[in-house]
C-alpha cells in the first residue's frame, strides 16, 4: 500500500483531518460512556466502531450540504463539524448545550451547520431528508442531503416510502445505510430475508452499492460518486456500509446477545487503525504527530467535559419556551 490509496483530491491536511475526526468521535464516545452513568442518562447510544461512515460520508459533501442523523448521532454531529463542547454539554443536559438541554443525546442538532438533528425515532430521518432535498431542488441550490439510518430502520415503512419518492422525483438524497448487523439485540438476518440490504435499491430503480463501512476511503469514494450524481440531477443512491458497533445499544446495555468472538473479530478491523496505517505508509503522519493528535483530542474531550460541568442547568423558568415561535396560552398550573 502507498499514499496513492488516498483520494487524490485530499491534501495532507485534509487526510489528517479525517483521522482527527474519527479519533475525536472515538474518544468522545469513550468519555461519554464513562460519564453517562454519572449523569444518570441511560439512553446514550455510542457510535464507537462506526466512525468511518460518518466521517467518510461527510468528507464527500460541502459545508452547505445537509445531513439527517439517527438516535446514534454524536458521530454525525462531529463529522459535520459540530462543536464538541456544545455536544457534550447537551448530553449533560445543560443550558450551554447545542439544544439548550432540551434534546439530549438523541436530539443533538446544529442547524447552523445544516446538521438537521439526531432523531429518537428509528427511520424518521429519511422522510425529512426528502423535503430538505426538494427545497434545494426547487431553489436550484445544488445542495445534497445525506440521510443516515441503520439496518433496523431499513425495515420501517417510512424507508420504503422515502426511497420510492426520492427515486421518482430524482431528489438529491443519498441514503446511507449503516448496517451494524443488529437492531438493538435483533440480528439483521432474523429481521430481513436478504443479507445485502442494498439490493432493495433495484426495486426503486436507483443504484445500490455495498461498501466496507470500516474503510473511510471506500465510504468517501462511494459517497462522492453518489453526491456527484445527485448534484447533476441523477437522483438518489443507496449505500450500504457494512460495519459493527463495538459497544452495546446504549451505554447501559449489558450486550449479552453478541459473542465475544464476534466483537473481537470486528475490533481487529478498527476503522481508525486501518486508516492510521495508511497515513503512516503514505508518510502523511508519523509517530510524533500521532501522539500529538491523540493528546490534543483527549485534551479537547476533557475540555468539553469541563465546559459541560461549568455550564448552568437550564433555568426552569424557561421550560415553556420554544414550543411555538411566539408564546401562546398553553394553560397549565
Amino acid at each position: 500500500m502507498n499514499s496513492d490509496e488516498l483520494p487524490k483530491e485530499w491534501s495532507s491536511e485534509e487526510s489528517i483531518n479525517i483521522y482527527k475526526k474519527m479519533l475525536m468521535i472515538r474518544e468522545f464516545e469513550t468519555r461519554i460512556t464513562k460519564d453517562a452513568g454519572k449523569i444518570k442518562s441511560p439512553l446514550v447510544h455510542p457510535y464507537t466502531g462506526e466512525e468511518a461512515i460518518a466521517v467518510g460520508a461527510c468528507a464527500a459533501i460541502n459545508e452547505e450540504d445537509y445531513i439527517t442523523s439517527t438516535h446514534r448521532g454524536h458521530g454525525h454531529f462531529i463529522a459535520k463539524d459540530g462543536d464538541v463542547n456544545l455536544l457534550m454539554a447537551e448530553i449533560y443536559g445543560k443550558e450551554g448545550g447545542i439544544c439548550k438541554g432540551r434534546g439530549g443525546s438523541m436530539h443533538v442538532a446544529d442547524f447552523s451547520k445544516n446538521m438537521l438533528g439526531a432523531n429518537g425515532i428509528v427511520g424518521a430521518g429519511p422522510p425529512l431528508a426528502l423535503g430538505v432535498a426538494l427545497a434545494s431542488k426547487m431553489r436550484n441550490e445544488g445542495k445534497v442531503v445525506l440521510t443516515f439510518f441503520g439496518d433496523g430502520a431499513s425495515n420501517q415503512g417510512m424507508l420504503h416510502e422515502s426511497m420510492n419518492l426520492a427515486a421518482t422525483w430524482k431528489l438529491p438524497v443519498i441514503f446511507i445505510l449503516e448496517n451494524n448487523k443488529y437492531g438493538w439485540s435483533t440480528p439483521a438476518q432474523t429481521a430481513t430475508a436478504v443479507e445485502d440490504l442494498s439490493l432493495r435499491a433495484q426495486g426503486y430503480g436507483i443504484k445500490g452499492v455495498i461498501v466496507d463501512g470500516n474503510d473511510v476511503i471506500e465510504v468517501y469514494k462511494s459517497t462522492k460518486e453518489a453526491v456527484d450524481l445527485a448534484r447533476k440531477g441523477g437522483g438518489p443512491t443507496l449505500i450500504e456500509c457494512k460495519t459493527f458497533r463495538w459497544q452495546g445499544q446504549t451505554t447501559t446495555d449489558a450486550d449479552k446477545y453478541r459473542s465475544n468472538e464476534e466483537k473481537e473479530e470486528w475490533k481487529k478491523r478498527c476503522p481508525i487503525e486501518i486508516y492510521k496505517k495508511r497515513l503512516i505508509r503514505g508518510e502523511i503522519i508519523d509517530q510524533t504527530m500521532i501522539k500529538e493528535i491523540e493528546e490534543k483530542t483527549l485534551e479537547q474531550v476533557e475540555l468539553s467535559v469541563k465546559f459541560s460541568k461549568k455550564s448552568k442547568k437550564p433555568d426552569t423558568g424557561t421550560v415553556l419556551d420554544d414550543i411555538y415561535k411566539n408564546p401562546i396560552d398553553i394553560g397549565g398550573n
Binding site: K100, F111, A129, V132, M138, S162, I323, K325
Partner: protein
C-alpha cells in the same frame, strides 16, 4: 386593499387563499395525492396545477409518511409547504411525522428551527364514507404540544385562517369539514385578509345559553339558535375557529353572561374537543354556571355507512334545539 366581497363555497375560499399565497411567496407550494391533475378529492385544488405548474403543485404517490416527511423537511429548510392528507382517517398512517417530528422540532432542537408547514385535512361525515372516511380527529392533536389546530366553519373563515396558517412559522393542522366545503358566504377579496389565531367568532348574540360549536356543527347550532329565538330563547353561538390556541376569554365571557353552556362537537364524546372545553369551563368558569354543562357529541361508535344510521348519531339542529330547551 379592497373591501369587495364575493359569495363563494368553502372549498373555493381555501383555493383562493392558497392561490393568493402562492402568488405572493415563491416558497409556498402544495403536495398531496391527486391534488394536481385531478384537482383534489374535493376539488379544493382544481386549476392550481395549470396555474403554477408541477414543481409547485405536486402529485404524490400514496405515501402519507413520505408526503408529510417531505413537507416537514422542506419547512425545516425554509419553504412553506402545504400538505394535503386526503381524508383525516389517513392521518393514522403518518402520525409520526406530525407528532414526533413537526410538533417537536422547534423545542427539542432548542429553538433552532422553524417548521412553517400547513397540513390540510378534510374530515367528518356527510358523504357515506363509513368508518374509515368520516372521522373527526382534531382532539387528538390538541394533546400534542407544538401544533396549532385550526377548524374553520365557513368560507370567509376558510380564507382568512388559511392565509394565516400558511404565513405562520409553526406547524398548523388545518381541519376542513367536508360538509362545510359546500356552504357559501361572502368572502373578502382583500389579499391581506387574515384572521388571527386564537380569536373566536360569535355568530349570534344572546343572554340565555352559550353554544360552543366547531366545524359543521356551527351551522347546525345556528339553525337551532334561530328556531329557539322564535320561542324567545336567546343563544350565543360561538365558534372558537382555532382549538390551539383557544380563545378562552370569549367562551368564559359568554358563560359569565348566560350561565349555561352547551358544546356541540362531531368527534366521538370521550376525550373530545367538547371534553376539553368542558374541563376548561369547570376549572376556570365554574362560578358562572347555573346549570350542568351539556355536551352534544357523536357517541363512541365507528361511523356507520347507511345514511339513516349516520344521521342517528351525528348531532343535528333538532337535537341541539331539544337539548337547549331541556337545559332551560
Amino acid at each position: 386593499m379592497t373591501t369587495e366581497t364575493i359569495k363563494m363555497k368553502g372549498s373555493d375560499a381555501i383555493k383562493l387563499a392558497i392561490e393568493e399565497e402562492m402568488e405572493r411567496d415563491e416558497s409556498v407550494f402544495i403536495m398531496g395525492e391527486d391534488i394536481g391533475q385531478y384537482g383534489g378529492a374535493f376539488s379544493v385544488t382544481a386549476g392550481l396545477l395549470e396555474r403554477f405548474g408541477p414543481e409547485r403543485v405536486r402529485d404524490t404517490p400514496i405515501s402519507e409518511n413520505a408526503i408529510l416527511g417531505c413537507a416537514v423537511g422542506a419547512a425545516m429548510a425554509g419553504m412553506r409547504p402545504i400538505a394535503e392528507v386526503m381524508f383525516a382517517d389517513f392521518l393514522c398512517v403518518c402520525m409520526e411525522m406530525i407528532v414526533n417530528q413537526a410538533a417537536k422540532a422547534r423545542y427539542m432542537y432548542g429553538g433552532q428551527v422553524n417548521v412553517p408547514v400547513t397540513i390540510r385535512v378534510p374530515f367528518g361525515t356527510g358523504i357515506m364514507g363509513a368508518a374509515q372516511h368520516s372521522q373527526s380527529f382534531e382532539s387528538w392533536f390538541m394533546h400534542v404540544p407544538g401544533l396549532k389546530i385550526v377548524l374553520p366553519s365557513d368560507a370567509s373563515d376558510f380564507k382568512g385562517l388559511m392565509k394565516t396558517a400558511i404565513r405562520d412559522n409553526d406547524p398548523v393542522m388545518f381541519f376542513e369539514h367536508k360538509r362545510t366545503y359546500y356552504y357559501t358566504n361572502e368572502v373578502p377579496l382583500d389579499k391581506e385578509f387574515m384572521i388571527p389565531f386564537g380569536q373566536a367568532r360569535k355568530f349570534t348574540e344572546g343572554d340565555d345559553v352559550t353554544i360552543v360549536a366547531t366545524g359543521a356543527m356551527v351551522q347546525e347550532s345556528i339553525i337551532a339558535a334561530n328556531k329557539l329565538k322564535e320561542e324567545n330563547i336567546q343563544c350565543e353561538v360561538i365558534d372558537p375557529r382555532t382549538l390551539v390556541p383557544l380563545d378562552k376569554k370569549t367562551i368564559l365571557g359568554s358563560i359569565e353572561k348566560t350561565g349555561k353552556l352547551v358544546i356541540v362537537d362531531e368527534g366521538c364524546k370521550t376525550c373530545s374537543v367538547s371534553a376539553e372545553i368542558a374541563a376548561l369551563v369547570a376549572e376556570e368558569g365554574f362560578q358562572y354556571l347555573k346549570r350542568n354543562i351539556v355536551r352534544i357529541n357523536t357517541p363512541d361508535v365507528p361511523i356507520p355507512y347507511a345514511p339513516n344510521l349516520e344521521r342517528e348519531i351525528i348531532p343535528s339542529a333538532k337535537l341541539i334545539q331539544n337539548q337547549v330547551k331541556n337545559l332551560i
